[in-house]
């Protein structure tokens, strides 16, 4: 296990100075929209919270964390805060696989196509799309989270944005529950799959949903993706621990203890694979973590887009 103080200080410092936990310049991190036809102005903002964009970097970072956990080198991690953010963030961005970046971007492009097919009017403005700060909240850096969340909420307010479409459970929870409580700003928040309005008979397949903790328990919306899939002719084969009783994939522990994360992951994957069906994830953290196990897994948006 890594010393949590070192990890928290590093992430908090990155968020304070660069507005994201990896210190990667936003111009390198958020590029998916460049070749995608999205309106730049409108009433409802697609707010990705940058979580899918982080997934290739999470994979790269945890690869090194796994290698040095419980070794003498682990204690030297604290010194990385003395490396200028631009150099550290750019270095990480350059070390990360282009293929993985494209895979992460394709999830967001699929979501844009799904919204368009559902006749949802929305716009995207990368300047307004920020990280929610949720990791600081989960790690207990309340002061850092509130400071960052207030910055994000104030920016949206200044731009006159009140309606948001989200794409992952962590950002959705932050905006729906935490922002009103800690920033005083409330937004009308919907996830993209709540807005799917089309039906199709193209599906004809069976899948097993891995409910993320935040959609399953904290936001109690596990029924929504199941209805979407039923409307596409896709059958969900359930495991015992699903919906409210879903089991964690272990992803949240990967920054502090990759070993623990893997233990929890292995148990969950065994359970999910017991159905013999491909696994569907609804969260970038779960998706990245489940992929590590070698299981057959894809994002809900990929499945919906393929079934359109």
């Amino acid at each position: 296990m890594y010393n949590p103080k070192i990890i928290i200080d590093l992430i908090a410092d990155n968020v304070r100075k660069t507005r994201n936990p990896f210190g990667i310049p936003k111009s390198m991190l958020n590029r998916w929209w460049r070749d995608t036809p999205v309106r730049p102005e409108g009433d409802t903002l697609l707010f990705t919270g940058l979580m899918y964009q982080f997934t290739p970097y999470i994979e790269k970072t945890t690869h090194y964390l796994e290698r040095y956990e419980d070794t003498k080198l682990a204690d030297y991690m604290g010194y990385s805060k003395y490396i200028p953010k631009f150099i550290a963030g750019t270095g990480l961005a350059l070390m990360t696989s282009g293929k993985e970046k494209k895979n992460a971007d394709s999830v967001l492009r699929n979501i844009v196509n799904i919204l368009a097919k559902s006749n949802v009017e929305f716009f995207y403005k990368p300047e307004l799309d920020d990280y929610s700060g949720i990791l600081l909240y989960d790690l207990g850096d309340q002061e850092g989270f509130v400071r960052h969340a207030k910055f994000v909420a104030a920016k949206l307010k200044r731009a006159g944005v009140r309606k948001l479409i989200t794409v992952d459970p962590h950002t959705t929870y932050a905006l729906k529950v935490l922002f009103p409580k800690y920033t005083g700003e409330s937004f009308d928040v919907k996830t993209y799959f709540e807005l799917v309005s089309f039906k199709s008979e193209n599906g004809g397949s069976r899948v097993t949903l891995h409910d993320p903790c935040f959609y399953g328990r904290y936001l109690e919306m596990s029924d929504v993706p199941r209805k979407v899939l039923a409307n596409l002719g896709i059958e969900c084969v359930e495991v015992i621990n699903s919906e409210h009783a879903t089991n964690c994939c272990g992803g949240p522990a990967e920054s502090v203890s990759p070993k623990l994360s893997k233990e929890v992951l292995d148990r969950r994957v065994e359970e999910l694979q017991s159905t013999g069906e491909p696994i569907i994830a609804l969260c970038p953290i779960c998706l990245g973590n489940l992929k590590k196990s070698g299981a057959q897994v894809e994002d809900l948006s990929t499945l919906i887009a393929r079934s359109m």
Binding site: N247, C248, L260
Partner: protein, 100 residues
């Protein structure tokens, strides 16, 4: 000799830890927790109840093994919200680090 310190639970209230004394230590949270062999989170909640401030701080790294998955809160028969208690303890420890 160990003394019980009820003021510790009060000190923690400003970090969002307000339901620790509702817990009757049944262990349901520990049974359901993905960290199956750690007596977690019951042990941490017990530290709050008896006011074992120093003992908690000596073992504070354990708090970050919590996945914040919410299974303990979902199953707690006393609605003591163990998941939120652990999150509140993290806030307390982080604030303590920053002060020192």
């Amino acid at each position: 000799m160990t003394l019980i310190n009820p003021e510790f639970a009060e000190e923690l209230e400003r970090f969002g830890v307000s339901t620790a004394l509702d817990c009757f230590n049944c262990g349901t949270c520990t049974a359901i927790c993905p960290l199956i062999y750690e007596h977690f989170p019951r042990k941490m909640i017990r530290y709050i109840q008896v006011g074992a401030r120093e003992l908690l701080l000596e073992n504070d790294n354990e708090l970050w093994r919590c996945l914040h998955c919410g299974l303990c809160t979902y199953t707690c028969p006393r609605e003591a919200d163990p998941g939120e208690l652990i999150l509140g303890l993290k806030r307390f420890v982080v604030a303590n680090w920053r002060r020192s």
